[in-house]
């Protein structure tokens, strides 16, 4: 029973969580696992509502814990289902053993994460530590920066995950609180359009699935070279995901009229001398600062990371090469490296881009705001470094106020 609104695109003012739920609903998942956790709870409530209203024909499983949520969708995916779940921080790390399984089993699970601080210090607040703590899980990891992008990224995530040359699970990250509870204008595409965008997936060679009675299995014991072969294939698939994501973003643009630049959105970087690098909601604020600084004559650009795993090495190297100084904004920390995690990964590009002065700005943890004033300060510091002055490599900007 398709409600009238779904045969046409609708403009609504909805939160990031709601946008995630709409994105998932439109892609018609068949098995959905639900468990509440701040700041994501609205996602599972919306999905339940869609189901009750007949707009989502899925098996809804109200699980007893996030670990079960991930296992349930993984197994259902292995049996051939399109699936969906959502979590955050503590729930994400509770799923950790399952996450590794999902990626290793090469099943196209899609999950959204409303980023929040991880355990260690009790924190019910925004931060990207949970995204960072699962970098090595083998999943594809995307980051959205506004509510429209959340919805669009979920649709793109299915297209990417189920591509027969990828076949990997995808997590879509968005900042808890600053995006999960932010209500803004979102265009909700029509069902027809989403169905059409995902329909090419049906023309692919079918993926291996578990059929009762057919002597085949998942979870084989990898022995010696057998293990290495499977690991290598996984590794190679992640690399392929980069190019695929570029294609999908372009196709999305043609189909829906919105595209985001692929792995990396390079804003006013062509003639920029200094550049800020960031991921998530802070990029919106940073973009505004870039525009204002440009009005003052500062040659500054912004690199917005949209894909975090696989790490968009080639695109970043292309964009950052030749710049005079770089500032990297991190809403998390890299334990053991005395800097922000995204900074550390950008720093690893030095062989490709040459020794460029780079600064790590740690801020925005535990719901602390990243204000335009803080970003202006970062621009000042990066400018100073670009002029050849000495600089401090790591600054905890939130604490300097």
């Amino acid at each position: 029973m398709v409600k009238k609104e779904e045969s046409m695109a609708a403009i609504k003012v909805i939160t990031g969580n709601s946008a995630a739920a709409y994105g998932a609903m439109l892609c018609r998942p068949e098995v959905v696992a639900m468990y509440p956790i701040t700041p994501q709870t609205e996602v599972v409530e919306e999905l339940s509502r869609f189901h009750a209203e007949g707009r989502l024909e899925a098996e809804m499983v109200e699980v007893e814990g996030e670990n079960s949520a991930m296992n349930i969708v993984t197994a259902a995916s292995a049996a051939g289902a399109r699936v969906f779940t959502a979590t955050s921080s503590y729930g994400l790390v509770f799923m950790y053993d399952a996450l590794l399984q999902t990626a290793g089993y090469r099943v196209p699970v899609v999950m959204v994460i409303a980023n929040r601080e991880t355990p260690g210090i009790t924190g019910v607040s925004a931060g990207q530590q949970d995204m960072i703590s699962t970098r090595d899980s083998g999943w594809i990891s995307l980051v959205a920066s506004n509510c429209q992008e959340i919805l669009d990224s979920v649709i793109m995530a299915y297209r990417l995950a189920e591509d027969s040359e990828v076949q990997l699970p995808v997590m879509v990250n968005y900042d808890g609180f600053y995006l999960s509870f932010l209500a803004e204008k979102v265009e909700i595409p029509s069902r027809e359009k989403v169905d059409a965008f995902l329909s090419p997936l049906k023309n692919q060679p079918p993926r291996p699935v578990l059929v009762p009675g057919k002597p085949a299995g998942f979870g084989t014991h990898g022995l010696l070279e057998g293990y290495i072969e499977l690991r290598y294939k996984h590794f190679a698939a992640l690399e392929r995901a980069k190019g695929k994501f570029e294609d999908i973003d372009r196709l999305f643009g043609k189909h829906f009229g919105r595209s985001y630049g692929g792995q990396v959105d390079a804003y006013r970087t062509d003639d920029a001398e200094i550049v800020l690098v960031a991921a998530g909601s802070v990029t919106g604020t940073a973009q505004r600062v870039v525009d204002l600084q440009r009005e003052k004559g500062v040659k500054i650009g912004l690199v917005r990371l949209r894909m975090f795993r696989p790490f968009p090495r080639e695109r970043l190297a292309q964009v950052l090469k030749g710049k005079k100084a770089i500032g990297v904004i991190d809403r998390s920390i890299c334990f053991g490296w005395n800097c922000g995690p995204i900074f550390m990964e950008i720093r690893a590009l030095t062989p490709e881009i040459g020794p460029i002065p780079m600064q790590s700005f740690i801020c925005g943890m535990a719901n602390m705001d990243v204000s335009t004033y803080q970003i202006d300060r970062m621009v000042e510091l990066v400018q100073s470094a670009s002029a050849g002055n000495e600089y401090q490599e790591v600054r905890w900007i939130s604490m300097e106020e």
Partner: protein, 309 residues
């Protein structure tokens, strides 16, 4: 085992399929687990089965190696933490698309009672539609005989040794089968390898009942290697366990208990304990404590068995 007149015994009547397992699997000599696997395979049949297995004694048998396997079943490997949740995902999806499926979890007690209990309880509460079989060898045998929550009080294991400071496992075992029955699932039962007809009936019933919700079977499955028992008396041990009420055979439908094998004159539990090396350190007083525990458990069970709506 043909009778004198050449007719097949009743047990064979339960087989719906041939043994799906190849000969020469890696179970220890005399391991009842191997019998349980082959038996279950023959009774339930391959046609619509998906079997999930976790790390444990059954793992080398159930899980493939690279691209080969010791069986022709459809199989899915899970972690110890997640057998029931994976089975939920499978059974829900198959049901949604109208695919005939009997999803069977086949796990040890370490998984079912300890590390995998949370999601088992969750699946039972939601009344998911699959069969969960726990083979109880009273410990983590695959990793070298460490205690689990179904290890009985007083047992010697690698993590509950006997010495001047301690006398084996200090606490009583969890009654896992009763716990599962108290989730009011359509079917919960105990079974063992010395009473194959009883076991077969329960497997068939479990398959029927899983159309309504979760079916749980708890198999008493001694580990000759780990318990210090000669490998040729494993079945005898099962029979003694039943005869002494150490392991009563019962079933429960939605929590209503029925004893399926009445033991009219239970033998003293010392007959059972004396067969097993892990209890060999016990004094007569300690054996008496075990007897009191067994008597209590059985009285509790029979009391429950009297309850009718």
């Amino acid at each position: 085992m043909a009778t004198k007149k050449g007719k097949l015994s009743k047990v064979f009547d339960y087989f719906s399929d041939q043994d799906p397992f190849a000969p020469g699997v890696s179970c220890c000599a005399g391991c009842p687990l191997e019998l349980a696997l082959r038996f279950m395979g023959k009774v339930l049949g391959r046609k619509d089965m998906v079997i999930t297995g976790t790390p444990g004694c059954a793992n080398p048998v159930l899980t493939g190696q690279n691209v080969g396997a010791w069986h022709t079943l459809t199989s899915y490997g899970t972690l110890m933490t997640s057998a029931a949740s994976n089975a939920t995902g499978l059974s829900r999806y198959y049901r949604k698309i109208g695919q005939d499926a009997t999803v069977v979890c086949f796990n040890g007690d370490g998984c079912a009672a300890d590390i995998g209990f949370q999601n088992l309880s969750g699946a039972a509460e939601r009344n998911e539609k699959f069969i969960y079989i726990c083979y109880d060898n009273e410990g983590y045998m695959n990793t070298g005989v460490q205690r689990s929550s179904t290890t009985p009080a007083g047992a010697r294991t690698a993590t509950t040794p006997v010495g001047p400071m301690r006398r084996g496992k200090p606490t009583r075992r969890k009654n896992l089968a009763l716990l599962m029955a108290m989730h009011w699932i359509p079917y919960a039962a105990t079974a063992t390898l010395s009473h194959l007809e009883d076991f077969a009936e329960k497997l068939v019933k479990a398959k029927q009942k899983k159309e309504e919700g979760l079916s749980f079977i708890h198999i008493f499955c001694p580990c000759p290697t780990g318990w210090g028992v000669p490998s040729d008396i494993a079945i005898e041990l099962c029979r003694t366990a039943v005869r002494t009420n150490y392991f009563p055979l019962w079933e429960a439908e939605n929590g209503i208990v029925r004893i399926t094998h009445e033991v009219k004159k239970p033998r003293p539990v010392s007959e059972y304990l004396n067969l097993v090396k892990k209890f060999s350190h016990m004094t007569p007083e300690e054996q008496q404590v075990v007897q009191e525990g067994i008597d209590f458990d059985y009285a509790f069970l029979t009391h429950l068995a009297k309850f009718r709506r």
